[in-house]
């Protein structure tokens, strides 16, 4: 299943995962923690949603598996790390631009306070 063909909106889970991976490579648990931290605890992603989204994102070329390496905190070399691809970065940038445009329209309609 293709995610984001022709820059269609991303699902919230995909957007949060891309945001979490935009700064550094992370493993599944690391992504979960980062998403929780980025959303200030408002978005809680379980393993079912996370790995389903990861599978679709890999298929769509938004992310890819990175070389396996040991997390010094976790001390486990079986962990699979994921990293964002160039396509993923473009999709994230396009989605953030879309959000900016939505906010601009909302401000014009006085639905959102101006800065």
């Amino acid at each position: 299943m293709a995610i984001n063909p022709r820059n269609s909106p991303l699902t919230p889970a995909v957007l949060h995962i891309l945001l979490a991976l935009s700064t550094q490579e992370r493993h599944g648990y690391g992504i979960m923690k980062q998403v929780e931290s980025d959303s200030q605890g408002k978005v809680k992603m379980g393993p079912g949603t996370l790995y389903g989204s990861l599978g679709r994102m890999i298929d769509a070329g938004l992310i890819r598996e990175s070389d396996k390496k040991v997390d010094p905190k976790m001390d486990d070399e079986r962990r699979v790390y994921y990293k964002i691809t160039a396509t993923g970065q473009k999709a994230l940038a396009a989605e953030l631009q879309r959000y900016r445009e939505v906010v601009t329209v909302a401000r014009q309609l006085r639905l959102s306070p101006t800065q």
Partner: protein, 177 residues
């Protein structure tokens, strides 16, 4: 110690639940999911002694994921099945059409030759190729034979193109996998 035992028990439950995922998904992410579940339980246990509510949420969330993934894989498998069925159907169809088309072309060519010979006898024109340029000399059924011949040739060309496209699609499909 109690929480360790509880976590082990919950991990066993989770491992059993993961068996409900489609095989491809399980092979791809099963180990990582189990490990993530283990991490989440340990993190939670260090903050709160009671885990059951949290574990139930994780199990339900994973069960929802199982339904989604099974649905997705069902759709993918159905599409593959339809594509393969169409390919096999087309191949079987062409296996019938191609020999018929070849046979028709051969018959048409034979009829054409017979006409050319007849024209040679009637008109005394001994060059068989000349009947292509002196069509008014040909009887009506020779035109019918012409149409028959070129239709057959077109059929054969279409068949060859269709087989080529089918093979190319199958090759691309294999590369994609």
């Amino acid at each position: 110690m109690d929480s360790e035992l509880a976590i082990e028990r919950y991990c066993r439950w989770y491992r059993k639940l993961l068996r409900c995922y489609p095989k491809a998904h399980r092979q791809r992410f099963g180990e990582s999911m189990e490990q993530t579940f283990n991490d989440l339980c340990r993190e939670r246990a260090s903050a709160r002694p009671r885990l059951l509510g949290f574990v139930l949420w994780l199990l339900i969330e994973t069960a929802a994921g199982i339904l989604r993934e099974n649905g997705r894989y069902f759709v993918i498998r159905s599409r593959e099945f339809v594509r393969v069925a169409m390919g096999v159907g087309l191949a079987k169809f062409l296996r019938i059409v191609l020999p018929v088309a070849f046979f028709a072309a051969a018959v048409a060519a034979w009829v054409q030759m017979q006409n050319a010979v007849a024209v040679n006898i009637v008109t005394g024109v001994d060059n068989q190729l000349r009947h292509l340029f002196f069509r008014p000399l040909l009887p009506t059924h020779a035109y019918v034979a012409d149409v028959w011949l070129w239709t057959s040739v077109a059929c054969i060309l279409c068949g060859v193109i269709a087989v080529g496209r089918l093979l190319r699609a199958a090759k691309l499909d294999l590369r994609g996998k």
